[in-house]
């Protein structure tokens, strides 16, 4: 176990930049976004970014393969390579979201694009001592600290960050001489701070939520909740565990060459379930909002014994109509 | 390789298209950088046509219609005039040179004027260079 002075975080990032691409939270205006670190970007660790890390594993739009027609034969070129990189500054709740996405994209038809990016990425996570508005990770056990899932965990213990590696990749990073040896006392300070952070976070009791939802499908609760929804995609596009996508072909004009592109889709848009012939099983926003809640709090738990939410609070913070998922859960109880 | 600007021209069927045709019949020479799209009236053109043309690689867009008062449908060009005066200012605000969008009145007998407009616009665009909304 090692530790690194806060002042040397910048040097650590510069050192890692030599042989990794770095993705880290960067402040632009008053907002913070995960972004590929540019030359004059500064890592900003004080708040969890608006966008979620899923954007770097399931990008907004991604070429699955290119197709070219040469003398009546089609040749398909999958687009799979990706570079070694470090996701620096990811918080425990987002790490757990990636663990859930691993489950969903694995299985019988494993997604090679997601797997390739996951294997090429080292996760340097930071424990979360200051919860933000809308955070409730302790309800899912996905924060504020971490026992596994990332390669390296750094926790603020005053002037230092305590560094706990979980994998060989983590150990490789703390070999750098920027790190010093840590003592048992440092570990104790860390545990106390985590305990204090846990008390600050609102904890919801999620006992029996899937069972309760089974009987609430036709309850008028969904009518009232969805009245203020404006069917935009903020909650799903910012959510670290929302993975739904659409697949589109894009051809160049007058040739048959082109690309097959996978891009984000959202169950909040009516077009998500519009069938050929015009029928739409979820035509109203009530059905769509209900689907989002059921998918995360009943359907995913039924299949994977894990909730489809990690309590990061992004949908609560950014919903223009003020829909609060914690309030929905408490009303379900 | 000298930069060759591409102009997309929306010509109204009754006046400007005939004007362009006249320029051809009377052998008036004009720069070949224009691609003509015939529309029934300058009032038919949707602002998205302009934006889509610029986005797909056109360096300039010309909208030509009948002179005010001579519109085959009486008021089509009046609406076009308001619409594209506003559109010019909006694209200028967004950082696209307003000279890339020109609104001209060319009647069926003004073959010469059509050729002049094309030549003039092509020179303008040659100094402006290509537009890139991509990177």
């Amino acid at each position: 176990m090692k530790k690194i002075p806060k002042s040397r975080i910048k040097n650590l990032v510069r050192e890692l930049e030599k042989n990794y691409d770095i993705i880290a939270p960067v402040r632009t205006g008053e907002r913070v976004f995960f972004k590929e670190l540019g030359p004059d970007d500064e890592v900003y660790l004080k708040s969890n970014p608006t966008n979620s890390p899923k954007e770097f594993f399931l990008p907004y739009s991604e070429v699955l393969f290119e197709f070219k027609k040469t003398n009546d034969e089609f040749e398909l070129k999958p687009n799979l390579e990706s570079r070694e990189r470090i996701l620096f500054g990811i918080r425990p709740c987002d790490v757990h979201s990636l663990l859930l996405l691993d489950l969903i994209s694995g299985g019988e038809f494993e997604d090679p694009y997601y797997k390739e990016k996951r294997e090429k990425t080292t996760l340097v996570s930071f424990s979360c001592l200051e919860p933000m508005d809308g955070c409730f990770c302790t309800s899912f056990g996905t924060g504020p600290s971490l026992k596994d899932g990332a390669d390296l965990l750094l926790t603020d213990i005053g002037d230092y960050y305590l560094a706990e590696p979980f994998t060989r990749k983590g150990e490789k990073i703390i070999k750098s001489k920027l790190f010093e040896n840590a003592t048992k006392r440092d570990k104790k300070i860390k545990d106390e701070r985590i305990k204090k952070a846990e008390e600050k976070i609102q904890k919801l009791d999620l006992e029996k939520i899937p069972e309760k939802l089974a009987s609430l499908f036709d309850d008028k609760l969904w009518d009232e909740l969805s009245k203020r929804c404006i069917s935009c995609a903020i909650c799903t596009y910012l959510c670290p565990t929302c993975y739904c996508f659409d697949v589109i072909d894009e051809g160049k004009m007058f040739t048959v060459d082109g690309k097959r592109i996978r891009c984000w889709d959202t169950c909040m848009f009516p077009s998500f379930t519009r069938l050929a012939g015009g029928e739409n099983p979820r035509a109203t926003k009530k059905e769509r909002l209900r689907q989002r809640i059921y998918h995360k709090f009943k359907y995913i738990p039924d299949r994977y014994e894990k909730f489809g939410c990690v309590g990061c609070g992004r949908c609560v913070r950014y919903c223009p109509a003020g829909i609060d998922i914690m309030e929905i859960i408490s009303q379900i109880k | 390789m000298k930069f060759k600007p591409r102009i997309v021209a929306f010509l109204c069927n009754w006046c400007s298209y005939a004007g362009a045709d006249l320029a051809g019949i009377s052998r008036i020479q004009y720069r070949p950088n224009v691609r003509v799209i015939r529309v029934m009236c300058s009032g038919r053109i949707d602002p998205i046509f302009v934006l889509k043309s610029l986005q797909q690689g056109a360096d300039g867009v010309l909208i030509a219609g009948c002179h005010p008062g001579e519109c085959h449908y009486a008021e089509g060009n009046y609406f076009a005039r308001r619409r594209f005066t506003l559109m010019k200012k909006l694209i200028e605000f967004a950082g696209i040179d307003p000279r890339r969008l020109r609104l001209e009145w060319v009647s069926a007998s003004e073959g010469k004027k059509f050729a002049d407009v094309i030549n003039e616009m092509t020179e303008d665009l040659e100094n402006m260079g290509s537009i890139n909304l991509k990177d």
């Binding site: 659409d246 609560v316 309030e327 | 005039r81 619409r83 909304l133």
Partner: protein, 276 residues
């Protein structure tokens, strides 16, 4: 503010009890204290109606889908949106009971909102009932923010907007939160013909935002909802205020002020259009 809140609750209760309306659209506080739109249908709901410095949502957007008899709390900007919706036949005047409330400008974490700072219509332009006295209007809005961008050189402006637009995640919140975007089959989502492809493409972002900006010509009342909704903080109001400024200068038209005056691009004026 406190007195007005009481009056709103009382009026809402009366309207519901006398069956004048089936629904009252106003504001409420969520459990975590956030102000958000609220839809009162039962008498006891009306006690949850609030009125304070954070009631910034433009509720007019909910009139598009609630077609039955509705009452709505409307500040200056909201009332202008309602007026434009009536003018363009999206809602019928006698289906809407407008509870007008003069507004001294809304705030977000203690700071006066930008669009309220330059707002010249703090008193509702149209209402059935006015709660509270009229407030003093500020005389002029000389579009300082727009002029600042206009003064930049061409490439700087292009760079500015490219930088802003590349953050856009096409969540459509700016369109869905806007009361004036009421098309059934929005041109930005149409499939046949398809003007904008579904995946986010950098070069299509100009078209995406400029088309919507153009469509707000003569209808945007600068309520600021779009900019507040945008999760990536694109200064959208700049675009729509630029269009509003041009529409004022070129056609001397302001959105949501005069119910009888037709929208600017649906008419022409032979004399002064000559000068265009």
């Amino acid at each position: 503010m406190e007195k007005t809140q009481k009056e709103i609750q009382k009026l809402a209760k009366r309207l519901l009890k006398e069956k004048k309306v089936d629904l009252v659209i106003g504001y409420e506080k969520s459990e975590s204290g956030k102000t958000r739109p609220f839809f009162a249908t039962k008498l006891e709901d009306t006690d949850r109606l609030v009125w304070d410095k954070s009631c910034s949502n433009n509720l007019a957007v909910y009139l598009l889908e609630n077609k039955e008899k509705v009452a709505i709390v409307a500040k200056g900007c909201d009332s202008r949106s309602i007026l434009e919706l009536i003018k363009t036949n999206q809602i019928k005047r006698d289906d809407v009971f407008i509870i007008g409330v003069p507004c001294n400008g809304m705030e977000s974490n203690g700071k006066l909102l930008e669009n309220c700072r330059v707002c010249r219509y703090r008193n509702p332009v149209i209402c059935d009932v006015l709660l509270g006295e009229k407030v003093e209007e500020i005389p002029e809005d000389n579009y300082e923010d727009v002029k600042e961008i206009e003064s930049l050189p061409l490439e700087k402006r292009l760079g500015f907007w490219k930088n802003e637009f590349q953050r856009c995640i096409k969540c459509f919140a700016c369109r869905n939160v806007c009361p004036m975007c009421y098309c059934d089959d929005c041109i930005l989502e149409k499939k046949d013909p398809q003007w904008v492809s579904k995946p986010r493409k950098k070069e299509e972002m100009f078209l995406f935002h400029l088309v919507r900006a153009f469509h707000t010509a003569g209808s945007c009342v600068d309520c600021g909802s779009c900019e507040r909704a945008c999760p990536v903080g694109i200064p959208l109001r700049l675009l729509y205020r630029k269009v509003a400024k041009d529409v004022k200068e070129l056609f001397d038209y302001e959105a949501g002020v005069d119910l009888k005056e037709k929208p600017p691009l649906t008419k022409f004026d032979l004399e002064n259009d000559e000068k265009l």
